[in-house]
Symmetry: C2
Subunit: 410 residues, 2 copies
């Protein structure tokens, strides 16, 4: 399939803790910024795809979140599709928006990702994550973790719904320990991911955390779930990101001379494969590279789903940026740092820019677009021309529930 969608404009809010702002205000700000960037008016939008994961459980605003946000801007009538795929809700909204432009259904489409996680009751924010897994499997997983912790004396205490962290960090910690055992990956290498992304995030005014951390500081931080210290875990946060996608005809009409094109976007679901078999990450990225006619080494930069520091290292491998088991060395060799051969998460990533769940997938597209347009200031990747976005969401046992990979080219 030849994709035809062009990114005409992008916008995002500051990511972080915004107790004074509700879902509407956060979402509306990103939309305003994106349409201004695109040079279109609200009245030009013909459809909207809105990704949000947790508003129902955190704020009670379920079901029609997109309409409520757009109405606060005075926008109605257009089709609004509210989509959910846990942490991949934003990329799913982007994926559908791009597909509908390619289909010729619309000339101007909005993809909005938005999340409001901070609330008075922090436990509610973390509990919202428990809806992003098979709720029956979650119970079994938590019981097995507790048993193995009791047997081995490890500090792998399980965080159930209502605890003060997401249970996803327990899953990531278990995966990290397995990677260390099998490939010799070290806690220092995980810390290098966090340090690198903190360096990138220090140059991003919209990042939740601006402090640049050393590897030593990351290692010395409080332990969340062995071997993950706090800066190796993405924070909860509030924020929104929006993208205006247009057809080729509309791009010409807008006078876009150097368009950022969506050359492929692939969404897959996880399945029950053996641990050693290729999973959603490998399959989705290979398909995206085939559609785009590119190799993983071709990318000028990559925004990937570093919900935890080990998550970034795993993604290097399943995206084919390095062979299996070499992820730790890739970051250690500086390849993925700004100035390296293939910078990863120049935005600061989920770890430092922040991870307002439903917004994340769209925010990755915002970062890539600005980089491909050469307007990323001190964190600009010189000559960026091909970008990769990867956003995963939820868990169904051995794999993520949803994985979305998109390739942008200028």
């Amino acid at each position: 399939m030849r994709h035809k969608a062009i990114i005409a404009g992008v916008g995002m809010t500051h990511f972080g803790k915004h107790m004074e702002l509700g879902l509407k205000a956060i979402g509306a700000e990103a939309v305003r910024l994106a349409i201004a960037d695109a040079g279109v008016g609200l009245e030009d939008l013909q459809a909207a795809f809105v990704g949000n994961a947790a508003a129902g459980l955190v704020t009670g605003q379920e079901s029609i979140r997109g309409q409520v946000i757009l109405r606060s801007l005075g926008l109605g009538k257009i089709p609004v599709v509210n989509v959910e795929n846990a942490c991949a809700s934003g990329s799913t909204a982007f994926h559908q928006a791009a597909a509908m432009v390619t289909a010729g259904a619309y000339d101007v489409v909005l993809a909005l990702g938005v999340e409001k996680l901070y609330c008075e009751d922090r436990k509610k924010s973390f509990a919202a994550f428990s809806g992003a897994v098979d709720v029956e499997l979650l119970q079994a997983f938590m019981e097995s973790l507790q048993k193995s912790a009791a047997a081995g004396g490890a500090s792998a205490g399980a965080a159930g719904a209502g605890e003060k962290r997401s249970m996803f960090m327990d899953i990531y910690a278990a995966v990290a320990r397995a990677h260390m055992q099998r490939y010799g990956t070290t806690a220092e290498q995980f810390a290098m991911v966090s340090a690198k992304n903190s360096f990138h995030g220090s140059m991003n005014p919209r990042a939740q955390f601006r402090e640049s951390l050393t590897v030593e500081q990351v290692l010395a931080a409080p332990m969340i779930a062995e071997p993950l210290t706090r800066p190796m875990c993405s924070p909860i946060g509030d924020g929104a990101a929006a993208v205006v996608l247009v057809s080729e005809a509309k791009a010409r009409q807008l006078g876009i001379t150097r368009p950022v094109r969506v050359v492929s976007t692939v969404l897959v679901s996880g399945w029950d494969h053996a641990p050693d078999e290729d999973g959603a990450g490998e399959v989705s990225s290979r398909q995206a590279y085939d559609e785009a006619g590119v190799a993983p080494t071709d990318f000028s930069l990559v925004e990937l789903h570093d919900a935890s520091a080990p998550g970034e290292i795993l993604a290097y491998e399943y995206l084919g940026l390095c062979p299996k088991g070499d992820g730790g060395r890739l970051v250690q060799d500086g390849v993925t740092k700004l100035g390296g051969r293939q910078p990863v998460n120049t935005s600061g990533g989920l770890l430092r820019k922040g991870h307002p769940v439903g917004a994340t997938g769209v925010a990755q597209i915002v970062e890539l677009t600005e980089q491909l347009q050469g307007r990323s200031g001190p964190r600009q990747v010189p000559g960026a021309r091909l970008g990769l976005a990867q956003n995963g969401g939820g868990n169904i046992g051995v794999d993520v529930a949803a994985m979305c990979v998109s390739v942008l080219q200028v």
Copy 2:
């Protein structure tokens, strides 16, 4: 846009109270029935669009409902997009699935609508509806209702979140009273809608209620919100419905000789229009008729959103089945009863077949498809060739949040 999707197979569960079945089991059964009906295997499905409104708030299963259901059948890998639009979640899933087939993105796509509302704590089931409106507006509306009830002595007690009925019935009751005042519509006419749909539902083995009620029985039933008695309100329920949509090439390959075609499908959002101005119902249906090249009088049968009995009468009018204000007379004259000129809700409608929220929009497509294929048994509309489905969801003040209208033709 020339639509290209063809309905290859449909399936739905019995609608009703299924305390012994969870979301997975209910959803999986509808999928099994639909693929068997289509003559395809699970492995033929290339993508799935899954509509669900309340699982997050009722069962805790948020975000990745589609993947969890499909995995229980052994299906992974394919893109799964979880969509939400309150009571129009199912039609939104169908709309997107049809659009993606028209786009040429897939040859075989599943649209699934599924809901599990019954649970041990009935208040939780009703509270789930409060996420389907602007949660800030809801508060204001409830306060105004309470004030007017206190002033006028009417029995328009407001049901807030946690009450034993949905606040939507208070909205419908207010609208019904206004219609009575303005057009002389009577409580008997509302009762005729319920009686008619109960007659239709008595012939539908998958309906939640099979009892055929007289107008007198409907009027004598307990009052829920003046003038709505219990049979004038759709019940909560559990259920799922699924449709397999295919491309023209795939339909030929499957040997479908008399295809049911999706000739138009239109999704719009409500907006802040004046009470007398056309709203989402008028705009969406006119657009759908234009796309399909048909007039409202052309339809052999109609499945519409009778969440309440007055809701059906309002829909007659905004869908153009009769002039404004004549809805009460349309049902009174027997036009919309089986055997009449234009039967409406032969399935029993939301009132009697039931209204498992996310499933409803897809179940309407199931009914129309079976009717157009001449396999509806005792409730068959003779010679049915053109069907209309209308499904609305949520509320944003003066209008529904989402309205989806689709036209099927054989």
